[in-house]
């Protein structure tokens, strides 16, 4: 077990290791929870273009699910790229409260190494985190079973369906026991039923393990259903966070039940309205 895990997260992990299904999770967004990542006054641009985002600050605390929504081209994904280190900021800074190795990134597409079997794709991350090949393979197999991929270990990515590939990508990231999960519209390409099932599985896991999540999506319902805080970005370029909505729905949540919560519909309406205003203003100013 990972000895670096501290505080309330360790409780959640140990509970799982014992096989007992105790839903222990740190107080999401509570004042005592430490931030796993803080972004200060971030600006990013590609090449010599106008900055896509400017003056963006946000924080994700231990065990908190935070989402970024906004019009397309508002630079939502760019923020994730800055945090993960794939792209250097133009100005501002990103402070990680955890080692970079405890951060996982789930991408929009399901690009896996085509020349590696599903299991070896999952094992790759474990090997890069210092596990010997044999142990990494075995652990990868266990993760695949946990995600409903038993029997598909030796398939190559092109022999898997879109939903299965997504689950492999998920196993690849979750196997590294991330304390912060960055997700860039991870399930956008899946059909509605598969998407619902994969999302629910992930939500259960995140809640059980107390993983902090920063989710980029343009599905406002999904954002609200999963998050503790929804951030709305304005229309880019030079997009910033214009609104911040706390979501007061208790956990554990289930994706269907959450929609019946009395605060769900009113908040959804508010976000929609604010989003429309942002887009209209941007169009008027152009």
């Amino acid at each position: 077990m990972n000895k670096m895990i501290k505080g309330s997260l360790a409780v959640a992990h140990e509970a799982f290791d014992d096989g007992t299904e105790v839903r222990v999770r740190p107080q999401a967004g509570g004042t005592d929870a430490r931030p796993v990542v803080s972004v200060h006054d971030l600006a990013m641009r590609y090449g010599d273009d106008e900055p896509v985002i400017e003056g963006v600050s946000l924080e994700v605390r231990e065990g908190e699910v935070v989402s970024l929504v906004g019009p397309s081209g508002s630079g939502k994904s760019t923020i994730l790229r800055a945090i993960s280190g794939l792209h250097a900021p133009l100005s501002g800074k990103v402070d990680l409260g955890i080692p970079a190795t405890e951060m996982g990134f789930l991408f929009q597409d399901d690009a896996l190494l085509p020349w590696r079997t599903a299991r070896d794709n999952v094992a790759l991350g474990l090997r890069l985190h210092g596990k010997p090949v044999g142990g990494a393979r075995q652990e990868a197999g266990e993760w695949m079973a946990r995600l409903g991929l038993k029997g598909f270990e030796l398939r190559y990515p092109r022999q898997l369906s879109g939903g299965q590939r997504k689950r492999v990508a998920l196993a690849q990231v979750l196997a590294l026991k991330p304390r912060l999960l960055l997700m860039d519209e991870p399930f956008a390409s899946l059909d509605a039923i598969v998407r619902h099932r994969v999302t629910q599985d992930l939500l259960d896991w995140v809640e059980r393990e107390g993983i902090a999540v920063l989710l980029v999506t343009h599905d406002l319902e999904e954002a609200q259903a999963l998050s503790d805080v929804v951030n709305l970005l304005s229309q880019g370029p030079r997009a910033r966070i214009s609104h911040r909505y706390p979501v007061e729905i208790p956990r554990p949540r289930d994706l269907i039940g959450v929609r019946g919560h009395p605060t769900f519909a009113p908040l959804l309406q508010r976000i929609w309205k604010d989003l429309s205003v942002e887009v209209e203003e941007a169009t008027a100013n152009r």
């Binding site: 690009a111 190494l113 890069l128 590294l176």
Partner: protein
């Protein structure tokens, strides 16, 4: 019979047989001059004589060794230069224009120069063959690396992979796919280089025999030699295909 006829190879074999019979028939009927187009039976006889008295073997060995050595070293050189150019910008600045020039010219024009440099022995044949193959493989590797799937690179980086991991897990496998895709063309190039080199100046080899047959207006021997070269290239194509399927099993699985 009709089931057999459904197979592509059966139809192709049938068409070939029909052509050979027609050719033979026209020759015997005196409608084609055997001096220019000797009938298949005469070609078969020439082929038989080449193997029966064993006179073909030193020539076959010479051409095969030149082609295989050119193929091997050409693959190696092309891959090393391609990797170097793709990884180190200044290397690319120097090598790329040279390769573009070499790619644009018919590279066999270098054969006379190589014969002056390396003599009429095996060396000059290997050199021609090598240049033909190396330029092809250089571009396969160079573009293979530059067009590598960025998503895979980012994926491995976010999983904690560094430069060496990227090389091992992403670059080498994707470049291998590019090289293998060009392997059959490379085999053809290797033989072209060897035979053309022998054609220009040599004391043995299939190219040398061809040049001899041509100078004595022996059409049957000329065609027999062409058949032999075709046969060998087909065998190597088959081998290349097997290697490709083996190394790229993830693509065919």
């Amino acid at each position: 019979m009709s089931a057999l006829f459904d197979k592509t190879w059966a139809r192709q074999a049938l068409a070939l047989a029909a052509l050979l019979i027609l050719w033979e028939g026209l020759g015997r009927a005196g409608l084609i001059d055997p001096f220019y187009a000797p009938p298949p039976s005469a070609i078969a006889l020439a082929l038989y004589e080449l193997f029966a008295d064993g006179s073909i073997w030193p020539h076959l060995t010479a051409t095969l060794s030149a082609a295989l050595a050119g193929l091997g070293f050409g693959l190696l050189l092309g891959a090393v230069l391609g990797f170097g150019a793709a990884m180190v910008r200044p290397v690319a600045d120097i090598i790329e224009p040279v390769m573009i020039l070499l790619n644009a010219i018919p590279r066999v024009i270098l054969a006379p120069l190589f014969i002056i440099w390396f003599g009429i022995g095996l060396g000059s044949k290997v050199a021609v063959s090598l240049v033909l193959v190396a330029v092809l493989i250089f571009f396969a590797v160079y573009s293979g690396i530059r067009e590598v799937d960025v998503r895979l690179v980012e994926r491995v980086r976010t999983l904690g992979g560094g430069r060496m991991t990227l090389l091992r897990e992403v670059y080498i496998p994707s470049v291998t796919a590019w090289i293998l895709g060009n392997l059959k063309v490379a085999v053809g190039f290797a033989f072209t280089g060897a035979v053309v080199g022998e054609f220009v100046a040599s004391s043995r080899g299939l190219g040398y025999l061809l040049s001899f047959a041509q100078s004595t207006y022996n059409a049957a021997l000329t065609i027999a030699l062409i058949v032999i070269i075709m046969g060998f290239v087909l065998i190597l194509f088959g081998l290349a295909g097997r290697i490709e399927r083996r190394l790229l099993h993830w693509r065919y699985a």
